[in-house]
């Protein structure tokens, strides 16, 4: 059965480069550009991996007064603490964080919520591909 990944990033350009190489390995990819879309996706699909940016537009479904600069950390907390109703994706789904954030305190907070990988931007392409395939338990593409 093919694996399925959800990318959450408000800038498709920063992740779309991975799509072709991953699709070539029979991985299905969905993209959510804000918090609302992400929650809708997580409710309707069961994902094997979520690749999460830290800064994006949260949307009202994530709750009130969520700061965009830490929306990724908030979404991560919602998933891990099982706070989203009718979630099709399990709360312990592997999550990979891709971020350009330099704020160490925020990164610490994210790590405390148990993430399976954290890559700081700019990221060497191959490293992300390797991490994604490792987390999905498949052989990396050459």
């Amino acid at each position: 059965m093919s694996k399925r990944i959800l990318f959450v990033d408000d800038e498709p350009l920063s992740v779309s480069a991975y799509f072709e190489i991953l699709e070539d390995q029979n991985i299905e990819i969905d993209l959510a550009e804000d918090g609302n879309q992400a929650i809708n996706r997580l409710q309707s699909q069961k994902y094997d991996l979520v690749v999460l940016d830290v800064q994006f537009t949260p949307g009202e479904m994530m709750g009130e007064n969520i700061e965009p600069r830490r929306a990724g950390a908030e979404l991560l907390a919602l998933i891990r603490k099982n706070k989203i109703v009718d979630l099709s994706t399990p709360p312990n789904v592997p999550i990979l964080i891709l971020t350009a954030v330099m704020d160490q305190r925020l990164l610490e907070e994210i790590k405390d919520l148990k993430v399976d990988g954290l890559c700081s931007k700019p990221i060497v392409f191959q490293k992300v591909v390797e991490t994604v395939t490792r987390l999905l338990g498949i052989e990396p593409a050459s």
């Binding site: 991975y18 072709e20 330099m102 160490q104 700019p122 990221i123 992300v128």
Partner: protein, 746 residues
Amino acid sequence: MDELKNSMPLENTLREKQTNDLLLDRLNIIGEKVASNASIGEILQQVANCAAEELGADPVVLYQCKQNKATFVAPPIYAGKLIHQVKNAGVSPFKGTTFAELILAEGESLHFEMKDDIDEHIRTSWCKQNNTAYIPNEWFHDREGIQSMAALILKAGETKVGLMFLNYRQPHKFSESVKKRMNTFVAYAAVAITNSRLIARLNDDHSYLKRIIDRLPDPVFVTENKKINGQLVWRIKVANRVAHQLFGYDFSTNEFADRDARLLLGGDLDKLKQALQKANGEVTDLELSMQHSDGHRIPVSISTSVLMRNKENDHVTSAICVAKDLATKNRLDYLNRATLSLLEARSLEAAYDIIFENLNNIGYKKGMLSLVGEKTKIISGKRAIGRNWHDLLDKTNVPLKSGNVLAQVVKSGTPRLIKDCTTDPSCNHELTQQAGIKSQYIIPLKIHEEVIGTLQIDLTDKQNFLYGDKHHLTESLNVLSAFANQVAVAIESNRLKAKANKLQRSLADVGHEFRSPLHNIITQLGGLSYYLKKKYGQDQKVLDVVKIIEEESFRGDRQMKNALYSSEKSVDSMGQHLEKHRLSVTIQQCAARFQITARNRGISIVVRDNIKKIPPFSFDIMQIEQVFTNLIDNAVKYSHERQTVEIQGEDHGRKIEISIKNTGLGIPERSYTQIFEGFSRSDVLDSTRFIPGTGLGLKIAKNFVEQHKGKIWVISKPLSQRGKTMNYEGYLTTFFVLLPKNPMEY
């Protein structure tokens, strides 16, 4: 200063902020000196040294004006290096014909950007002033090779207190921001000098009067009018402190107060009076009040009845004088200390709080601070204290052009004492009457020549003081004016700080905005190379092009990161995250980013195997990555073609030492420390090619290494003697980084 002149605006801004902060630190030290009663000579030397170091001038010559005379106290104070010894040092060189006296007589601060400008000023003004066409050839700037100078008049209010020459041995264009920095400095220096003069004078008076008072037998201070439930102990302690200061009694313990209060007063003052009268004593009334501040009791003026067993009126009068002067001196000391906290105020609002808290502590309970809008040119009330003044706050919006008394004070730059607002024609009678203000003192807040606002102090409840002893009134108003000068400096420096912070925040925002597309380019490149490989197979040329674009994008990102890291605030907010890593892996990843750049110039980057033997140890990977990326970047940039950059590591047990060697353009020993200071790249240039860079990389490297409690340094030696004559070419340069394996141990 040279870098200032030639550098980019961004560098200017950052450097300026940095320098401003240092400047403030130094000014604080001077303020502390004043508060601790340092001598005027010490203060002047401090001011001159500070100007030399913080404004980059060499040498600095500082003249102190004689009081009420248009000439100077000899000799002037020097800071920095003088090539020639000063002739007639200690002997007055002032005969009304020196260049300094000319500037003082003209009364304007001047900036000479070239030597020609100085000579021109001598040819025109000096000759005219001295009514001669003959120009002597013995000038300080000729002798010392001065190419540019700023001649700055130090003014406290309207009084000229000094003249400072900032000399430079290169020509300089003095930008507006540099001039502004000089002005802030000069304003503060003037205040410091004025205050130390006031303190010196009061100290003299005090010691003179103390000698008289020493002859008084057994003085005793008690209070009689503020009896609270028959308990006077608290007031007595105060009185004793004053007595201690006046007469040198050792009342440092509370016992005196308790025992003698019981003995002398015991709640029964009449008994005491009778006893004293019997002993031939005399009772004289004095006024006194006390203030609490942060739990400390500071005698700001002296109050009480003085009981003395001596009838000589002269002695009693002297005691009163000393008491009053001491009160003035205490106020000044107190305000000087207040200035220090003012300069440290985190925001304008906090500064306003401190200003009024301190005015309140020295007995001025009501008033208002107004500032002139930089663009609107309207004087508007910013903070008021006292309910009636608070009501006036919103109504105070005075255009500078109007005839209102505030506008007048701003325009004239001189303080106004209004004893009776109901009759003074420039007051708004309706408003002042409504607010119940009868008398007030309005002081302009001046930074050098510019008035930035006014401080109004309510004197309505001080009618005795207004129409009492003139000397005392003048002295008190002088204290207030001196404080107002400090207030002005503090407000201005706070405004500058706020501006710098705002600029820094927007720079950080811009930086992040720039990084984001770069990241996308780097990611997309990965996708592109995958696509190209899939379609056209493995093609080294294509892969190289991709790699170059990738390296260049990483370079852009690195420079931006350096700029962001160079702001200490952003580094502070980042914090440090220590985790065990293999240093060899980090260094190899850093080196890999320069693969193509190095190969294009025939340079090989060699990471020696001994690094791999270093066991994993704790470091912040983001910071250390930046350190070695910057160091390898430098090594490659400054290498000659077809050379090797060699990276080695050694395990010294508790510490590890990494060295990065390259052969190429060397670093002169004089620049060994300066290159780590930011925006100051080595002054040695490659004659054949342009080497890009911002000069921030090594500063960041040093900052991060030091956060790991480590050390970084450089040694650069010629490979052969010939190198020395060849513009530092052919040098072996080694950067060393020493890192403790456990930074927490240090």
